[in-house]
Amino acid sequence: MRATQNGTGKIAVAGVSKTFGDPVHGFRAIGEIDIDVAEGEFLCIVGPSGCGKSTLLRMFGGLATPTSGEIRITQNDPARPLTAMVFQQESVFPWLTVAENAAYGIKATGNWNGRASQERVDYFLEKTGLYSFRQFRPHQLSGGMKQRLSIARAFATNPEILLMDEPFAALDEQNKLLMQEELAVLWEEFRSTVIFITHSLDEAVLLGDRVAVMSSAPGRIIHTIDVGFPRPRNPIELRRQPEFAEMTKELWTVLGREVLEARRQETEQIARSR
């Protein structure tokens, strides 16, 4: 169940598992997950492909339900939308202009408030460098701009929790770097709770207050580290710190094994299906 409550802690995940298809013979995507996320925390989740990390995020976003267990999310302000998701794939509406896309979240949640909302939308379009393109349509933009637009849409919605599913995976390395910087700056201003899924250990340590590592399927959380770097963070500087290297190494020690296990499972699955 995805229940909302009023209490301490933002998200409480208790004994959550997910099996796709048949309960016994189906695919066990998520083993059993227990994790708490604090109010205003930036949590990064890394894990091998197919470990169920996107599924977990989709549960937070109301797009999937657990097979067992419970997720409790505290909502402080019923007038604010609970979550807004930035998807990995292209998710901006081709039929809306850039400005309309950025405003979509506020309008869809019924929170449109004339001038104030328009100023908010314009602010995030400005921040994502899209303000001068606001009358354009997505097909006229580059892939990176479209992804920035979906980030602007999510931020403009002003959710209590921002859910990001490998939002920069499709970007080239240089744009990724810029986006990481921009996201860090945006977030430092608003400090909403963020769950950020990524393949990149660098990215996780650069952005997160805490990094959780998931095992290969059925996914469990097998390791977490606290990233104590002060903010605002400078990605280029941070990468040069010995502690940074130490942390990514620690994460890789755990994750590397799981990636090998995920490969083994994949091989087995393909062999079985032939």
Partner: protein
């Protein structure tokens, strides 16, 4: 060992492209055919009783355009097509949207549509004449039935073909059902609706002519048929051209509307 120089030279491709763009190539082939036709008719290579020269047809057309009957024929034909399109199109789009959004509706309608769709709608004309009489209604309905099926099927395809991610964006933000229909399902179906509209225009024109051949005493189709019975071959040809122009005009209107309503698809194509 012999040395070979590999030279990669600039090409004049862009210049050639410009030439091709400047020439109205698309106009050349019909003009050539008309000229050949004119020449053949005048030289007596073809029988002008069956194939009158284009200039003769043109003169007949000009003369007919002075008569009230010519325009009233076009008017009534357009009216039959327009009413048929509206009568079939609006419910077709609504049923298609409902089928796309609600699996129950989809399963309920699918066998019915699958069974009835392949029937050539003109075959139903005698039945419609029994029900609606020989007046205008039976003509509207035969066109409307055809349009209904094409629009519902293509609208359904449009909704079903809308990437799931767009619905997920709305769901994640907890948009209401109505809002999801209006902001995701409907615009997502628009490209399908336009595909349907395009096919509808072609088939509606065929049905219009078929109906006017058989059960009308007015309209462009009727005029062609009547011209055949009295052996006014020139008038027959004028009818052909008028029908062709009606089809062309309708397709331009759809092009224009498509650019307005689905600009993102037009560019992709």
């Amino acid at each position: 060992m012999a040395m070979v120089q590999n030279i990669i030279a600039a090409d004049s491709g862009t210049a050639r492209m410009k030439w091709a763009n400047m020439l109205p190539v698309g106009w050349l082939s019909p003009i050539a055919i008309l000229l050949l036709w004119e020449l053949s008719a005048r030289q007596g290579w073809i029988n002008p009783a069956f194939f009158p020269a284009p200039s003769t047809i043109f003169a007949t057309g000009i003369a007919q355009a002075q008569t009230a009957q010519f325009w009233s024929d076009i008017g009534i034909s357009l009216q039959r097509m327009g009413v048929g399109l509206l009568m079939g199109g609006v419910p077709g789009i609504l049923v298609g949207l409902a089928m796309g959004l609600f699996p129950v509706v989809r399963e309920a309608f699918r066998p019915l549509i699958a069974a009835v769709f392949p029937i050539p709608k003109i075959a139903l004309l005698p039945l419609l004449l029994l029900i609606f009489g020989i007046g205008e209604m039976s003509k509207y309905v035969v066109i409307a039935i055809n349009v209904f099926f094409l629009m519902s099927i293509n609208t359904l395809a449009g909704v079903v073909g809308t990437p799931a991610i767009y619905f997920e964006v709305a769901k994640n933000l907890r948009a209401s059902r109505l809002k999801t229909y209006l902001t995701v399902a409907l615009p997502g179906a628009l490209p399908g609706i336009f595909t349907g509209l395009r096919i509808c225009l072609g088939t509606a024109l065929i049905l219009l002519v078929a109906v006017e051949f058989s059960t009308a005493d007015s309209g462009v189709g009727y005029r062609i048929w009547w011209a055949w019975t009295v052996f006014w071959v020139d008038t027959m040809y004028v009818g052909f051209f008028v029908i062709a122009l009606l089809g062309l005009g309708a397709s331009y209107i759809v092009d224009y509307l498509e650019r307005w309503f689905v600009p993102w698809m037009v560019v992709k194509n």
